[in-house]
Point group: C2
Chain length 346, copies 2
């Protein structure tokens, strides 16, 4: 039914002429059209009003011509729906004033009927799916349990999330209870998103790279896999364990993982070596490079596609696009992928 | 001459009964004795007064019994000596209000006679060397050119140093001029440190892990190697390109690199595979794990040594110790290494 199903074909390793392209944070502050909404409505109003979330989600589809829409939302809607207070001060990042410290704090979290308390996201997905009119696939997403634990225990974004990690290391039983509750909530939420129209589901483990390999295997991987196993029957799953390059080989062994996102700290050839076309790879352009001139962006993007190969590959950034990037540079990135053909070097 | 030369023997891959141990930021805010100095003298007074720097440097040697002292100083003394204003607000990190933007800014930097403007560090080294009375080796250090460029262009610490990276990507000729100037200053400075008594020199590339492998090869590696080649005749060199695990194989090929520091995002076995005992390895305990109980710290430290092997290995953290770590936990880390023997599992 989709007019452009490149993303789904990449996730199935089907032959394509060129890879699909989208950008993390493509509906974001580098777009004047997004800023216009931001100046008018506060963060949670934008997130919780389906018409606003839908309009913001469509912006990069219309303006840049990306091959997928990703629903405008935030990973912290899940802790909020579980009962935590989440504040978002514009330009300052999130804060959660009542952090998780004890078993009682965990017991108070409500992971049941999460979908009813996140109906605004599902409504936004339904509306966006309708408005997209099958032009491109729609991506739903959630934060991974370890990354959500980081915020829920630390109370704010932090360089090293030392407090959250110390919580895991010193109280592993509590950490496991908390991670399990988040996992249950996330599974319901992602299945709900697929049922509401999400064609693909991405799980962001933005902070898993702060963990040593052995700790990733304790505090991140089991929950990622549990989620992938539960939601894969509803939609293909892309995991993005940012910075956890050491986990590529093991994560790619799981049949229910369709794609893995990469940041730019790994060579495409090394990522292919570790994953052997068992999964599609997504990434991994350094967003800072979008400050280069469009012709240089084009050259670098073509080199990146050469390195990853055309099939089983989703062109993307290695992290979200930053506010300072000129729109025409973002467009150069998208156009460079669309121009690519196997003869691009000729 | 040194009563305890374990560090030097590890760097020469000589047989040892147990590895040497020291901790990055071992003279730091987790020590009440350090806090006493901090409450009395501001940051640059502590750094620029040889008697204070010496006293602070000796604290962890006396209190924890580490196998090496590292001179108390800061990587930003070099940009300061080159003519930049560097402000340090307690607990808020550094700021450099006049950032590098143009060729003129670079031309104004003075990389000559840097040693004369950093004589306070050399005096601190001489005094410390005398006070140590050959108990343990003394480590001198400098920031790597790319990491110093990050601060000099960005003007402050930042999550991603996007501005500094964009400077490199969009004005590579200017970046190379700046990196070259910093390199020249750093070489003089490190040779001066060796002459003043430093037994080992460590180069901190704290932010190199923000670079993709190909960009590390452009903006970090050449300058690290140039420094290692110039200063190795004076003292063995340890490079610490934090997070740049992709560079281990290539950096370890250089004869003038004696050791490489690692953070905890790589398995010891993988680091050995990539470096093949061509260099000593240093690291890589996650400092957050120092919040665990002493008996658990001991278990984890012994497992780490088992994994790295005893020879050609320097037990350390994978990053600086954080202020919240109890002193007895830091001591447990050091003691665990000292207790280690090849029969520790028995």
């Amino acid at each position: 039914m989709l007019k452009n199903d490149l993303l789904l074909r990449a996730l199935r390793h089907e032959d394509v002429k060129r890879p699909p392209v989208w950008m993390m944070r493509q509906a974001g502050r580098y777009l004047p059209e997004y800023i216009a909404f931001r100046n008018k409505y506060d963060f949670f109003t934008r997130v919780e009003t389906p018409e606003l979330a839908c309009a913001i989600t469509l912006q990069p589809v219309d303006i840049l011509g990306v091959d997928a829409a990703i629903i405008f939302s935030d990973i912290l809607v899940v802790p909020k729906a579980m009962g935590m207070t989440v504040l978002m001060e514009e330009g300052k990042g999130p804060s959660l004033p009542n952090t998780i410290k004890t078993q009682k704090d965990i017991d108070l979290l409500n992971e049941h009927d999460i979908v009813s308390r996140l109906s605004y996201v599902l409504d936004a997905l339904k509306l966006t799916k309708h408005e997209l009119n099958d032009r491109v696939p729609l991506i739903g997403f959630a934060g991974a349990p370890f990354t959500l634990l980081c915020y829920m225990v630390e109370g704010k974004g932090g360089k090293g999330f030392d407090k959250a990690k110390a919580f895991c290391f010193t109280q592993p039983e509590l950490a496991s209870m908390l991670l399990e509750k988040i996992t249950q909530a996330t599974i319901q939420y992602l299945i709900g998103q697929a049922k509401a129209g999400a064609d693909v589901l991405q799980v962001f483990d933005s902070w898993s790279g702060l963990l040593a390999p052995a700790d990733f295997d304790l505090f991140a991987a089991p929950y990622l896999i549990k989620i992938a196993d539960a939601v894969a029957p509803y939609a293909p799953v892309i995991l993005f364990p940012k910075g956890s390059n050491y986990a590529l080989c093991s994560l790619s062994q799981y049949q229910n993982v369709s794609g893995i996102g990469l940041d730019w700290t790994i060579k495409p050839a090394d990522a292919r070596r570790d994953t052997q076309h068992r999964v599609a790879l997504q990434g991994n352009f350094d967003p800072s490079k979008l400050m280069m001139q469009p012709n240089e962006i084009r050259r670098e993007v073509h080199a990146m596609i050469d390195d990853f190969g055309v099939n089983g590959y989703i062109a993307n950034l290695g992290h979200g696009i930053t506010p300072s990037i000129p729109v025409r540079h973002a467009k150069a990135f998208v156009d460079a992928v669309k121009e690519y053909s196997l003869n691009s070097e000729a």
